[in-house]
Symmetry: C2
Subunit: 210 residues, 2 copies
């Protein structure tokens, strides 16, 4: 998967606590079949070995469907399973260090909630930005939401793809049409849906209707 | 620090919860001044950014004293701060993957409690083994202690340096003289001592008296 070929339209961040299926493998398969174009594996509170084993499983699924596979935070796990890239937040390893460890060819995503964070992330080697939280959410409660004005400023300031995250669902996604962003990052709206495939289809379809 | 030059005599694993000082930096400095010959940084439940920042600080101290610096579990943090090596347990990334990510020159240590684990670790690229827990301890409670018989079997089976861990203190260290092991891995006996420097001096001194 070449960086330039990535379609950021519907970017799924996994969350075991929110998922509606028994296994993460089922959730990811259904999400991809519904139209998710990027899969980011997020694991908390598990051993490195368990994270690695899960990543190997998800890697198989994303390879089968030719969807890019991103690991949250753990650069070592990404290297161990040969993921397509890594996503880091502002409390993870600095983007500059991650880029150095990861080499030039892997995808590096960085979370940015404010303009200076966004500009620095791109300077430090980010290939795309996750901007948010756009709305208060259960999954990221600690920060003041990003305003639409801030999103526009970030969009004007950087030339890498942007996905918005945090409270993105069927009710809110229309707000991001005509903002110049490249995709929607979703957690509960897809992985927590009763029918994950349908939820992904509905969101990807609606976002593509311009 | 070349691998072959490492002196494993007194190998400190850090533990913030057990340390008697206010800061980890003080604890490590005192431990090295007392004679600890290797420092392994273990951090649990902190962000990757905090782990990285602590590692940068400890890296400065170990460089000043020319003592090898090992990171527990997180290969990415080790690469980011250019540590001398990584130590992995049986619940961390597999040693073989770690060796591949880390390259041939960094030190790779692996925890082994049983002979098959020890043999596999060396096959997979371990430069030294941490064998234990030798006694029941507060820091590693989940496993049956390694018997002296098992330790001897491991010592005969592998040709890399061995440090023993788990309940190693002034009362128990004499049991390991004449076993062919290379050093003592300590946690609470040094970092939890009222006087860390004196505790390290006493243990290193006693172990060197053959």
């Amino acid at each position: 998967m070449k960086k330039c070929d990535v379609d950021y339209t519907l970017y799924l961040c996994t969350d075991r606590e929110l998922m509606s299926t028994d296994t993460l493998e089922e959730a990811v398969t259904q999400a991809i079949e519904g139209g998710c174009t990027v899969i980011q594996l997020r694991e908390k509170d598990c051993s490195s070995l368990d994270f690695y084993r899960t990543a190997l499983n998800i890697r198989q699924i994303t390879k089968k469907y030719n969807v890019p596979f991103i690991i949250n935070d753990r650069v070592d796990i990404a290297l161990a399973v040969d993921a397509d890239g890594v996503h880091v937040g502002q409390s993870d390893l600095p983007a500059k260090e991650v880029r150095r460890i990861l080499g030039p060819d892997k995808i590096l995503g960085v979370s940015a909630a404010r303009l200076p964070e966004a500009v620095k992330a791109v300077e430090d080697g980010a290939d795309y930005l996750g901007v948010g939280a756009m709305y208060p959410t259960g999954t990221k409660t600690d920060a003041r939401p990003v305003t639409m004005e801030e999103l526009k400023e970030i969009r004007s300031a950087v030339n890498v793809p942007i996905v918005v995250i945090g409270g993105i669902n069927l009710n809110t996604l229309d707000n991001f049409k005509n903002t110049g962003i490249d995709g929607l990052a979703v957690v509960s709206a897809v992985i927590g849906a009763k029918d994950i495939k349908k939820a992904a289809e509905a969101m990807a379809g609606r976002f593509r209707e311009k």
